[in-house]
Symmetry: C2
Subunit: 115 residues, 2 copies
């Protein structure tokens, strides 16, 4: 598939896809004319990037994790990297729960006041 189709199926912009390639996240074959050609598996890959992005990971971080993800990351450094990112995620989730709880306080307080 070409880039427009991948963009449609994965729900991101064409510009974003070219950006991912620029950052070393996404590879593509080229047609004789120079246009990008993707395998259908690229759709899942891009969606995976979106998931990681929304979790607060940067392109650089994702690029660092990619070897682990693709090859299964068996070196100590890679496993440590995965672990530390996992812990960072847990930390972020705790922050979110904290924020959520604080918002709930505000909400219930305002409801009580409107009775």
């Amino acid at each position: 598939m070409r880039i427009g189709e991948l963009a449609k199926q994965s729900g991101v912009s064409v510009r974003a896809l070219r950006y991912y390639e620029e950052q070393g996240l996404l590879e593509s074959e080229r047609t004789p004319g120079g246009q990008r050609e993707y395998e259908s598996s690229a759709v899942d890959r891009v969606r995976f990037f979106q998931t990681l992005y929304s979790a607060g990971l940067s392109s650089r971080r994702i690029a660092e994790l990619l070897p682990c993800i693709d090859t299964g990351g068996t070196t100590k450094e890679q496993q440590a990297m995965l672990q530390s990112e996992r812990e960072a995620l847990a930390h972020r989730m705790a922050e979110l729960q904290e924020a959520s709880a604080r918002l709930d306080e505000v909400i219930t307080a305002s409801k009580a006041r409107s009775l």
Copy 2:
């Protein structure tokens, strides 16, 4: 307290505090000489902002929510705003859990491979 002290106690930079004021999040009295003076309650307020920031809320969004937070938000618009923000938070938490699960898959897969 003055801005340096508030910065120290709340754990953010002086620049950040001035930025919050610029965005309408934080108010301050002024000494006759023009220096900012804060009440001790400002520490908690700033920490609250940090919590919301880390949860992915923008300054603009926080500024919109402030009236609800300070006065208890009783108008329908304000309650709706609180609710929608709460739902957005829940959505973000779900994304985090998804990402976390995906990372766990990678981690357990890599461990299995290294055995």
